[in-house]
C-alpha cells in the first residue's frame, strides 16, 4: 500500500527547474533511497515532502490524510546538517520537539530518555547542545525525528557529514530503524543505498532517471562487462586512447581511468575475441582482464550521465 504518493512534482527557482516532474510512490514498510549526484534535486524534493518548500506544481498525498491537510505530524525529518538551540540540553530539545508534536509532558520525557539511550548519547543528554560534536548532533537529530513515532522517516544525506566510524554507527542504527518504520533517505553514495534500501530512485537534473525495487533494477539492466587494466606505460596508454576511438560495434566504454577501461558489451563472446585479438596485435602490457556482469554502479554512472 502506498504511504506516500508524489505526482508530477515541479519546483522552479527563477529560470532553473530544480525539480522537473518527479513522481514516485513510497510503500509502507519499505526503505527507499533517493540517489543522485549533488545538485540533482534531492534536497529540494525532500524539502517539498516535508512542507518546508511549496511546490511550483504537482501533488503530494499521504495515505489517510485528506488533500491539503497538514500531514507534518506523520513525518519525522532529519535535515542534512541538523541545527539545534545550543543553549538547550539534548534532553530539553527532545522534550520540546515531542511536545510540539502533541505528546504530553510525561510521554515526551519518557520518549526522550528512551531515544537518547537508543541513539547512544544517553550520557550527554544533560549537557548543552553547544558542546556536542557533529556525530552527536546527527544522533540527536535522528532522535528528534523519531520522537513522535512518525509513519515516514525522511532523512537528507544522513551520513555524508560523518567520519567513517560515525558513519558506520549511524548506518547500523538506520538498519534497525527500517524494520520499524518506513524510511526515505537521500544520498549521493551508491554503497549506502545498496546496503540499506529496498527501492532506489536515481535522480538526475531534477528528474528520476531510474526507479524501482533494487533487485529488479539489478536484474533488468544486467549486461556483460569487460574490465581491462593495463600497466599504465606510455605505449599502452596511447593505444588505449586510439582504440577507444575506433571501438568495434556492440562494445561501448562505460567508464575509464588513465590506464584502464570498463566496457559494456552486447555479445560477450564476440567482444571477448575482439578484445583479445586487439591486445595481442598491439602488444599491450595487460595487467588485468576481467569478464563479468554490470554492477549497480555501472547503472548509476550511466543514469547520472558520467562518461
Amino acid at each position: 500500500m502506498a504511504l506516500l504518493t508524489v505526482e508530477r512534482l515541479v519546483k522552479t527557482f527563477g529560470d532553473v527547474r530544480a525539480v522537473d516532474g518527479v513522481g514516485f510512490q513510497v510503500d509502507e514498510g519499505r526503505c527507499i533511497a533517493l540517489l543522485g549526484p549533488n545538485g540533482a534535486g534531492k534536497t529540494t524534493t525532500i524539502r517539498m515532502l516535508t512542507g518546508l518548500l511549496r511546490p511550483t506544481s504537482g501533488e503530494i498525498r499521504m495515505e489517510g490524510v485528506a488533500p491539503g491537510q497538514d500531514y507534518r505530524g506523520w513525518i519525522g525529518y532529519l535535515p542534512q546538517s541538523p541545527a539545534f538551540y545550543g543553549w538547550m540540553t539534548g534532553r530539553e530539545y527532545l522534550i520540546h520537539a515531542g511536545r510540539l508534536c502533541g505528546l504530553s509532558a510525561k510521554e515526551a520525557a519518557r520518549r526522550s530518555s528512551e531515544l537518547l539511550e537508543r541513539v547512544g548519547i544517553g550520557a550527554a543528554g544533560k549537557r548543552r547542545i553547544a558542546g556536542y560534536s557533529g556525530g552527536m548532533k546527527q544522533r540527536l537529530g535522528l532522535a528528534q525525528a523519531l520522537i513522535h513515532r512518525p509513519k515516514l522517516l525522511v532523512l537528507d544525506e544522513p551520513v555524508s557529514a560523518l567520519d567513517p566510524i560515525g558513519r558506520r554507527e549511524v548506518m547500523s542504527l538506520l538498519g534497525e530503524l527500517k524494520a520499524e518504520t518506513t524510511v526515505l533517505f537521500s544520498t549521493h553514495v551508491l554503497h549506502d543505498a545498496e546496503e540499506l534500501c529496498d527501492d532506489v530512485l536515481i535522480m538526475r537534473s531534477g528528474r528520476i532517471a531510474v526507479g524501482g525495487p533494487l533487485e529488479r533494477i539489478r536484474e533488468q539492466d544486467r549486461k556483460p562487462v569487460l574490465t581491462l587494466e593495463t600497466e599504465g606505460d606510455a605505449g599502452s596508454r596511447s593505444w588505449l586512447e586510439g582504440w577507444l576511438r575506433r571501438l568495434p560495434d556492440g562494445i561501448e566504454a562505460s567508464s575509464r581511468t588513465a590506464s584502464g577501461v570498463r566496457l559494456a558489451a552486447r555479445d560477450l563472446d564476440a567482444a571477448r575475441s575482439a578484445v583479445l585479438r586487439e591486445l595481442a596485435e598491439a602488444d599491450v602490457r595487460v595487467a588485468k582482464l576481467e569478464i563479468g556482469q554490470t554492477t549497480l554502479e555501472d547503472l548509476f554512472m550511466k543514469a547520472v550521465g558520467n562518461p
Binding site: 516535508t50 543553549w87 510540539l100 537528507d156
Partner: protein
Amino acid sequence: MRTWLVLFRKEWLELLRSYRLIWLPISFLVLGVSQPITAYFLPDILASSGGLPEDVVRSIPLPNASEVMAGSLQQFGTIGLLLLALSSMGAVSNERASGTAAMILVKPVSYLSFITAKWASILAISWLSFAAGYVASWYYTVTLFGSVGGPSVIAGLLYFGLWLSFVGTLALLFSSLLSSPAAAAFGSLALAALLQVAASSLPFEQPWNPGRLSQLAAGGLDAALSDGGSAWLTVAVTATAIAAALYLAARSLQGHSRS
C-alpha cells in the same frame, strides 16, 4: 493553544538563558533613575565644573516633576528602544540562518504560532523592562521633585508601552523579512524615528500615526508636550498595524525558510 504555550515556554527559557531577562530590566532601571538624579544634581555639577559664573548657575530653573518624568520617557524612547531593537533583531533571521527554524517548522506547528510566540516574548521583556525603569523613575522623581498625578503616570505607562510594543513588532517583522539582523534593527528604528518625526513636525494632524504614541505619553505628563489630539484612533491604528505585521511575518516564513 498547547503548542503555542510550548513555543512560548521555549522563548521564555531563551530570554532567561541569554541573560536578557537580567540585563534589559537593569538597563532600563538605571536609565529611568538617571534622569531624575542628573536633573537634581545638574546645578551642582555645573557649579563644580566651574565653566559658568555662579549667578548664571543659580538662575537655571529646576525642572518640575512632570518635566523630569517626560525626560525619562525620552531616554526610554531613544536608548531603551535601541536596546530592545538590538536584543530582538535576530529573533527570526538567526533561526532561519542556522536552520533551527526549519527543524521546528517541519513539526505540526503553525507559522503564526511560531511568530506570535516570539512576539509575546518580545512584548513580555519590553513591558517588564520598561515598567521596571518607569516605576523607578517615578519613585525617584517623587522623592526628589515632588508628586506627579497618578492617572497621567498610568496613561504614560500604557501609551509608551504600546509604542515599545509597536517598535518591537516592527523589529520582529523586519527580522523575518531581512536576513541581516543589523538591517532589521536599523530598519525598525529608522521607521519608528520617521513616524515620530512626521508626527511632531508635519503641519497637519495625524491622529492615525503610531509615532504619536510617545508624544501622547509625554503629553499626559507635561501639558507643554501635548498636541491636544485624541488618542483612540492612534491606538486602534497601532493595534491593527501590529496584527498586520504579525500576519506578514508568518507569511514570509512560508517557502523561504532555508535549511
